[in-house]
């Protein structure tokens, strides 16, 4: 996966397959510490301990033995190549918390890619799942959630073209504002 946004989509899809009804996605850049952190927390069914132990090993990755693909081993490689690490905590019946860190300015760090489309896709294709997205750059933060949108829009589906176009622009403007105020 050439871009981090693909990893975010992949991990969020794992959460969806794990029947999560709540998914929190946070991207956080700390310019002083030079770190980039992706955090994805869900309330899905959790990962059994014996699978969790082997989750970063690509050779136990067949879908017949577990529910996730090669995404985790690849993300783990990316974190390690960029002087970071991948940490996954999970409890059966409660959910999973995945935290990927990497050095922000590391030459091998993949670009973020099209995060706006990724988040938009997640929001509009899974309207029954509560998705909370936030992006933090140092002490400035921006967030958007399914609940915030539903509060404003009521029963109008998020996939209505005008609405999804508005969400796209809103995400895009606010994420670039975080980077321009540095």
């Amino acid at each position: 996966m050439k871009e981090l946004s693909y990893h975010i989509l992949d991990i969020a899809n794992n959460s969806i397959r794990a029947n999560a009804t709540n998914i929190t996605i946070n991207v956080s850049e700390d310019l002083e510490k030079d770190t980039l952190e992706l955090t994805i927390i869900d309330n899905g069914k959790g990962i059994p301990p014996q699978i969790l132990k082997e989750i970063k090993n690509p050779f136990v990755t067949s879908r017949t033995t577990r529910k996730v693909g090669l995404g985790i081993p690849l993300l783990n490689d990316t974190c390690q190549n960029c002087n970071g690490r991948l940490k996954i905590d999970s409890e059966l019946g409660k959910g999973t918390c995945l935290k990927a860190t990497m050095e922000l300015s590391h030459i091998d760090r993949p670009p973020m890619g099209n995060l706006v489309s990724t988040i938009l896709t997640l929001l509009i294709s899974h309207e029954t799942i509560q998705i909370q997205f936030s992006y933090t750059v140092d002490n400035q933060s921006f967030s958007l959630s399914t609940q915030m949108l539903k509060d404003i829009l009521g029963d109008i589906p998020l996939s209505t073209p005008e609405i999804s176009q508005w969400i796209r622009e809103y995400l895009s403007e606010n994420i670039s504002a975080l980077h321009n105020s540095e």
Binding site: K2, H106, I107, D108, P111
Partner: protein, 110 residues
Amino acid sequence: MQIKDIISPLNLKVVTGENALDKTIETGYIGDLLSVVMGKAPEGCVWVTVQSHINIVAVATLADIGCIIVSEGFVIDDEAIQKAVEENVVLLSSEESSYAIAKKLGQLGI
């Protein structure tokens, strides 16, 4: 051999650096992990990679790479193109795999 001599035999698209195609290239290098490319790519080489973001331009500048061929038809980021124009880095692109490109470069004597 000059960069312009590989353009039509390999059916490459010139993305940036049109005015620098007379640069001499003597050898090639293939790699996608930029930290490795940075340490290993020989000066003045043609570098073939699937990476297509701005860091490839930084690597090419720092390691004095002759030109970059982005393989597999990957679309090069606008940011990378802009930076390549500023730094006068020759960016080429191809639909073929890095392996197929390397074979053709070999046949041309690189």
